[in-house]
Subunit: 348 residues, 2 copies
């Protein structure tokens, strides 16, 4: 592991779509944000819509008729890859809080192991939105020259203290849930409260004030001021958050969430050189696109602009795209009208 410790025989879960060309030169590797699985899009084997269904598929921006698309579930996650919820083969018990410190560099390495396992020596492109953008930067730094194109979406070289504050508080909400029990919760005594609070805060940071003003305004479900519950959730925005929190909880393992969240805060491109400028020089992809949106408060636009400027210092062809999406950090999942053409054009 990048910061010490090791895993015995770890698994990296991945899915692929399309066919690898005889020249093995049409593969695209996708790193995900913090919470998705490797199931980026539906397939014959799994017809459930994926987390990037409108982006990945036949005739889509990441066109599976043309490209061999690979999406990896991050090391440390809980959708098939080894993480804190997995059994430690050395003890026969789940790792839980005894999983080693997770770094996004370990996630990058997981992606590389999959690529190597598939016998691919050159990638057409590496793509990463959000935390996946950091994993993709780590991938390019650790394994330079593998990717001909690098697409970084709504990400940054490091987290700002504002983002760290929000994630640190999310982690604390989980850790303070009495059921968390220092990481040794069971399905019966599960830190549901902490996960729900953390997810609500997540949703607040993933979207934007303007979007919610448009969608919800001051709509209320009830004008009733019940003396039985003077603090009942009555505004539409409150029930919206409640709905999303309930959906998330139970899907994601709390310890895995803690490890991935912490890894996002620890990541810093600058750790890979005497300065961030020196570290960026290790990235060898000749073509790079950096995309950001104006309404992102987690990885604000100036971070993508700075990343693009840093990347421009070399021989690379660097494009910086600023999108007017109002859906905040999650725009790459929500505003496909703006995102799909930009991604399609870069890959063409």
């Amino acid at each position: 592991m990048h910061r010490g410790g090791s895993l015995l025989n770890p698994t990296i879960a991945y899915e692929t779509w399309g066919e690898l060309s005889p020249q093995r030169d049409n593969a695209i590797l996708i790193f995900t944000g913090l919470s998705p699985s490797a199931h980026a899009a539906s397939s014959a084997e799994d017809p459930e819509p994926g987390w990037w269904e409108e982006m990945v598929g036949p005739g889509r921006a990441i066109d599976t008729r043309r490209f061999f698309v690979i999406c990896v579930n991050s090391l440390g996650s809980c959708f098939g890859s080894t993480g804190a919820a997995s059994i430690n083969p050395e003890t026969g018990q789940p790792y839980q809080r005894h999983f080693p410190v997770l770094s996004l560099e370990d996630v990058s390495r997981g992606g590389w192991e999959v690529v190597r396992h598939l016998g691919i020596e050159k990638l057409y492109a590496t793509v990463g939105p959000s935390m996946g953008g950091m994993s993709a930067l780590g991938f390019e730094i650790l394994f330079p020259g593998l990717s001909q194109r690098l697409l970084i979406i709504s990400s940054a070289t490091h987290a700002l203290p504002f983002a760290t504050a929000l994630r640190s508080l999310q982690r604390e909400m989980i850790r303070r849930d009495p059921n968390w029990s220092d990481g040794s919760y069971s399905a019966k005594n599960f830190p549901t409260m902490g996960m729900q609070l953390a997810r609500k805060l997540g949703m607040i940071t993933y979207r934007s004030a303007d979007e919610w003003e448009e969608r919800f305004g001051r709509e209320r479900n009830s004008e009733d001021f019940s003396v039985d519950d003077p603090f009942a959730l009555t505004f539409e925005i409150e029930t919206y958050l409640e709905h999303h929190a309930n959906k998330f909880t139970g899907q994601f393992d709390p310890n895995c969430y803690l490890y991935l969240s912490r890894a996002s805060d620890l990541f810093d491109v600058a750790d890979h050189g005497s300065s961030v400028e020196e570290a960026i020089k290790r990235i060898k992809s000749p073509r790079v696109m950096v995309v950001g949106v104006v309404s992102d408060i987690l990885y604000p636009l100036h971070q993508q602009s700075e990343l693009a400027s840093l990347l421009r210092s070399g021989e690379r062809d660097v494009e910086f795209v600023e999108l007017p999406s109002i859906q905040g950090h999650d725009s790459f999942l929500a505003d496909m009208d703006n995102f799909c053409p930009v991604v399609a054009e870069f890959l063409d």
Copy 2:
């Protein structure tokens, strides 16, 4: 109470500075944000620095040599005014969760009772930052023509869903603390966890990403990755929040916090007319200043700009001031270099 119910013999705590002129025409009334007491500034009776120490005092922007300054502790708060922590004289028990629904109109009314009690029929000015700005708007709507000047700082006609989402989540953190016990906690079984989490989220929303980038960057207290606590608070921003959360908890009553927070979400100037435009017409102050800062995410600048536009529809002299402060919503407490001259000029 504005939304039903009543209080028997409520108390409104207030402090005053300076001397009321023989013409009784030099009084300034200050409504506070959600958490402060009436102790806006130090005095001979209480030499402790107040929450607006640099703003209020002899020779300060709100000059106590010239003005008779009154600051009220909001009805529903816990610093002398009647609130959920007070004893209900009808039962001999604290109100706790059985306090009636609190509205900022009730806070406005509390201010009016103090002014009336002091024998003042005309105010030189009414001043309100943050939640206090809403209370001041409510005051002007309910008691029109009382104030010759109205100064609204970092406030709005209503909360946006983004602000409501954040406050709703803060309330949920407290209510979900097992020690909250449906509002009937004791000093021994106190919802410390919920209050600390809520205060941390409060701090995140009160300041700004740019300020923290400047102050903290990626500074860490420790480079150590202890296996004993892989999620320990190691970034400076994390220990800063911890420090502020510890300071707040124990000072503020959790139920009072819940009532005032909810009242901030419920307030809407538009409730006082067939439309917000009609409601605003009830405000009779001939001179108004609306101040906002660019870095405020809780009451963003466009809300102050909109409020100023609405106020301009009448015969009033309305000034809108946009400040470049980077300290976010709390700039009126932190960026005195920008705020003091603006307030002094308006009152002169």
